[in-house]
């Protein structure tokens, strides 16, 4: 690790030298150890995906094999769970990104009443523990099923059972918790947005529609993409909220939680490793590209 020049360094006494060497060596060493701590479970996950374990439990190292990698979907329920996870993540990302970006645009570009309330409404889901979000949604869906309590207008008109716990309710929940994160991410991008660019476009005769698609959208696009990525990763990894509203439908995390009670298949490690490596590859690729883009400009 290279170190930039020590930040605090003037006094020449012994104490100063000690504290200097602490900050010079101890901090980087500590950081390396802390990062190792963060990565240990991932290393364990990847190593144990190659374990040639006996029985149902991938606990104790007993030799190298590629068995699990050759047959990564070889557990009943796993292919279905992955498919549902991906579908929910994709759909909830698209819907939440659209809805969230619209809110982000409205908040940053218009003046209107009730901003405080709306900001609060956006902030609250993020400040609530997941378990509370999951539990309250479960209460709603159960009440709809039982026709109990005061139900939201319109939802009762849906055919009976259409909000029974399952795919639909998972999707609804994921869109809900994703919206706030999208709004916050898009807002951050729009904060540094130069309104004069839009005004210039309008001066040149573009109408609002054209201005939006030709000027505004391309400028906020990186923010929207970042929001979508965040939404996708939140959705695909969510366990707590999904566990409350999934009924008998399994997403990948729910499936894992069920299967690890009485087995520990290496396939879990394989899927985990693949997702991890794909994400790392994706980030590396985008970083390289943006790095190159900066250099060429």
């Amino acid at each position: 690790m290279t170190a930039v020049a020590p930040t605090v360094a003037r006094s020449g006494n012994v104490a100063g030298r000690v504290s200097r060497s602490v900050s010079h060596y101890a901090l980087p060493v500590f950081t390396v150890i802390a990062i190792a701590y963060l990565l240990i479970p991932i290393v364990v996950m990847i190593i144990f995906s190659f374990n040639d374990y006996q029985g149902k439990f991938n606990f104790i190292w007993s030799g190298f094999t590629l068995k699990a990698w050759e047959d990564p979907l070889a557990w009943p329920g796993l292919p279905d769970a992955l498919r549902i996870s991906l579908t929910v993540a994709a759909l909830s990302t698209v819907v939440a990104t659209i809805l969230g970006t619209m809110i982000g645009l409205a908040i940053t570009r218009y003046r209107f009443r009730g901003r405080g309330v709306i900001n609060g409404l956006i902030f609250l889901p993020m400040a609530s523990p997941e378990i509370v979000l999951g539990a309250s949604l479960l209460t709603l869906f159960i009440n709809i099923g039982l026709k109990n309590g005061v139900l939201p207008p319109g939802l009762t008109l849906l055919p009976k059972g259409s909000l029974a716990l399952g795919f639909t309710t998972i999707l609804i929940a994921h869109i809900m918790f994703n919206i706030s994160y999208v709004v916050v991410t898009v807002k951050a991008r729009l904060a540094g947005f130069d309104r004069r660019l839009e005004e210039a476009a309008m001066d040149l005769g573009a109408n609002e529609w054209t201005t939006f698609w030709r000027v505004t959208f391309p400028l906020i696009f990186p923010g929207v993409m970042a929001a979508a990525l965040l939404a996708f990763s939140l959705s695909i990894d969510d366990f707590v909220i999904t566990n409350f509203v999934s009924g008998t439908t399994n997403t990948f995390p729910i499936w894992v939680y069920g299967v690890i009670r009485n087995a520990l298949p290496a396939q879990i490690n394989v899927i985990g490793s693949v997702v991890f490596l794909a994400a790392v590859g994706f980030v590396a690729a985008t970083t390289l590209r943006s790095g190159r883009a900066i250099r060429t400009h």
């Binding site: 364990v44 400040a127 378990i131 509370v132 309250s136 209460t139 709603l140 309590g149």
Partner: protein, 297 residues
């Protein structure tokens, strides 16, 4: 929303009118979603928390306060565990996270992005899989303990970490550490390094510089980091479930169990509400105490 008169106007005017309505049209779908699937469920849950009955006999809103008295009196162990584990793991996260964030911000040099990437790398793999990895690592015959027990023989064979408070706190600390490091990094990164050099020029020693300059400037990050760590820790039940025993149950386990196992919805709802209210109040008090309320809005 749009009235009939709008439809009669030419397309250009129609668009302009649409844009005049802009903020509301943009806000409506997303906010409706949040109202239907966040606010309404919360209201439903509140009504459930003042209901009596069972799932068999049906729930009726009676205005009873029994669920609340139960929630506040019957679960002192679990509330205690939640507060204790939450406080300890948030503190540990801060103690580990601050030096790491500091090092990356001021000493990261050209490795800054790589280090940041490594900090968020755990997010690229499933939360459950990481926790299962800890189960393997901390197992009674796992790599660490088996070595200490059999190879060195320094600890008795019936010694265990798994299913103890230590394991739960280790899991919580681990899982939410990146949530601490990132906001701290963002806050520290904004500090102009010349400010710190100036402190040195004025003969402040390292500790004084840290206490009088660095830390106060990093306060927004400290605030965000502790909130982002403490809230999910308080509501978590997966770590206590996978790494703990009945003795280490947290309030999240009770909410989860009452909702998903014993269908005691009123008590579970009351517990959720107390948890949520407690967290919001704690956040407000904390914001005031740190003097960062202007930073939260």
């Amino acid at each position: 929303m749009t009235t009939a008169s709008v439809a009669a106007t030419p397309p250009g005017a129609w668009r302009r009118r649409l844009f005049a309505l802009g903020p509301y049209l943009l806000l409506a779908p997303g906010l409706l979603w949040l109202v239907y699937f966040f606010i309404w469920p919360a209201v439903q849950m509140f009504l459930m928390s003042i209901s009596s009955g069972t799932l068999d006999t049906g729930f009726r809103v009676t205005g009873t306060l029994k669920p609340y008295t139960d929630a506040l009196t019957k679960f002192s162990t679990q509330w205690g565990n939640s507060l204790l584990y939450g406080a300890i793991s948030t503190s540990l996260d801060f103690l580990i996270g601050f030096p790491v964030a500091y090092t990356i911000a001021f000493r990261g040099g050209r490795y800054k992005n790589l280090l940041l990437f490594l900090v968020i790398a755990p997010f690229f793999t499933s939360f459950l899989i990481r926790t299962i990895s800890w189960q393997i690592l901390l197992g009674d015959e796992g790599p660490v303990l088996a070595f200490l027990k059999h190879t060195i023989g320094v600890i008795p064979v019936d010694f265990s970490i798994l299913y103890s408070p230590v394991a739960v706190i280790a899991g919580l600390t681990y899982n939410f550490l990146p949530f601490m490091i990132l906001p701290l990094y963002v806050a520290l990164e904004k500090i102009d390094i010349r400010t710190l050099e100036a402190a040195g020029d004025l003969y402040a020693n390292a500790w004084q510089t840290f206490r009088r300059v660095t830390f106060p400037l990093a306060l927004p990050g400290v605030f965000a980091g502790t909130i982002l760590t403490f809230i999910p820790t308080m509501g978590d039940y997966v770590n206590a479930e996978l790494l703990g025993s009945p003795k280490t149950r947290m309030i999240g386990n009770v909410i989860q169990g009452r909702f998903l196992q014993s269908t005691d919805y009123p008590t579970a709802s009351a517990l959720s509400f107390v948890l949520m209210a407690g967290i919001l109040i704690a956040v407000l008090i904390y914001a005031r105490a740190l003097g960062t309320e202007q930073l939260t809005g």
